[in-house]
């Protein structure tokens, strides 16, 4: 399965990013081949709707699951439409979270926040 994660740097030693929609990069990790690919998050600089665009990137890269510390309502709706499950990360280590997912130790992310919309001074 292909796992997606918001990460701070393009390195397997990097940490999970606290934000999903505005994370600088995404790591896509294939649990079968054990290979990781990093891509830039083009949604990070959006004036609004970053979560939606970021979720679109996760969908377009055919991820089977998203490992993230948090996720907004709109992004969660996009991911749900694509049948992508959300798992809550524990701690900040990318490798430990991948291992925890494989071992079935990560729980589904059930706290979906309402988003941080409308702070741009419209």
């Amino acid at each position: 399965m292909k796992l997606a994660m918001p990460v701070n740097e393009k390195d397997m030693k990097t940490e999970i990013c606290v934000s999903f929609g505005r994370s600088p990069y995404f790591l896509f990790y294939d649990t079968d081949t054990e290979e990781g690919t990093f891509i830039d998050n083009s949604a990070a600089a959006s004036s609004g709707g970053a979560g939606i665009k970021a979720a679109q990137i996760i969908v377009d890269n055919n991820a089977g699951a998203l490992l993230t510390p948090r996720c907004g309502e709109n992004a969660a709706n996009v991911l749900k439409s694509a049948d992508i499950n959300l798992y809550k990360t524990e701690g900040v280590s990318v490798t430990e979270n991948i291992e925890a997912f494989i071992d079935g130790k990560l729980s589904l992310l059930d706290e979906i926040h309402e988003g941080f919309h409308g702070h741009g001074g419209n």
């Binding site: 959006s46 709707g49 939606i52 679109q56 969908v59 996009v78 439409s81 919309h117 409308g118 419209n122």
Partner: protein, 287 residues
């Protein structure tokens, strides 16, 4: 004669100044453009209120027509659209009603539908026509409501005295509110923070090339950074409102001081006279 009342932040006294000027004038129009939290109506308590719904056009998709080209998804700068599993998802609350997605759709899968974003209320309080814009919570922008409030369809004539109570700050909604104003009153508090906020709106009215003056509110003994700012920049000070318990009490009880107190009727009548003279002076020097 349209006079906009603005300030760099909330709680400075925009509503206090605009409702009291409208009341002191007797016959006038008061427009509350602070659509996210309009409060002028709490003072005026208008009668015979008529409510009009304000709508914007947002896209609706026919997924049987959509060919999945994603031109709409790529176009939308607000990311209000996503394309998942052969169908388009539209996030209505993110949409800014620009209509671009509908223009770009090559197969006409997107059609415009009306969405109510708020209301405009029209009523009377003695001789003051009270117009209130109310934006529904969660909507992205109050601009369409403000456009309706100050647009051509407004029953108040251009000659009639109209007080526009602006939203706080200097963003799009404020620009829309002052766009057609003949004169701007900037209300400022006697603090460093107040002077900073005055600087923001001062920059805005200069940018819009509007004639303007300042009303110093909550005046106390001692140094007034906002007054200092006006002196340094050569800005006309139209009047001063004291930091006064009587005024504070009337205001917090939802009363209009100019209607309840002779003292304040005199203060606001005098301020109104000064503002009228300024506007006439500006009009004369323009022609």
């Amino acid at each position: 004669m349209r006079i906009a009342v603005l300030s760099g932040k909330g709680g400075t006294g925009k509503t206090l100044v605009s409702i009291n000027l409208a009341a002191a004038a007797g016959s006038s129009t008061y427009i509350d453009c602070d659509v996210e939290e309009p409060n002028g109506h709490l003072f005026f308590k208008p009668k015979a209120v008529q409510v009009e719904e304000i709508t914007v056009g947002i896209p609706a998709v026919d997924n049987t027509l959509c060919n999945g080209c994603r031109k709409c998804v790529d176009f939308c700068k607000f990311n209000a659209l996503a394309y998942v599993k052969d169908s388009l998802i539209i996030f209505e609350e993110i949409c800014h009603s620009c209509g671009g997605c509908m223009m770009f759709c090559p197969v006409e899968a997107l059609k415009e539908t009306e969405k109510v974003i708020g209301t405009v209320e029209n009523g009377m309080s003695d001789q003051v026509r009270v117009q209130t814009g109310i934006l529904n919570p969660g909507e992205v922008s109050g601009v369409p409501i403000i456009k309706r409030l100050i647009g051509e369809s407004n029953p108040a004539s251009k000659e009639e005295l109209t007080l526009i109570d602006c939203p706080p700050g200097s963003a799009c909604v404020v620009m829309e509110s002052i766009k057609d104003a003949n004169y701007c009153i900037l209300v400022a508090e006697p603090t460093l923070f107040g002077a900073h906020n005055l600087d923001m709106v001062h920059e805005l009215v200069e940018l819009f090339q509007k004639p303007f003056g300042v009303v110093l509110n909550k005046c106390i003994e001692g140094e007034n950074p906002s007054e200092k700012y006006c002196v340094e920049k050569g800005i006309r000070i139209l009047g001063r409102i004291p930091y006064d318990a009587e005024l504070g009490k009337l205001n917090s009880n939802g009363e209009i001081a100019a209607r309840k107190s002779e003292k304040y009727n005199a203060i606001f009548s005098s301020l109104l006279k000064t503002v009228r003279q300024e506007v006439q002076h500006e009009t004369a020097s323009d022609s």
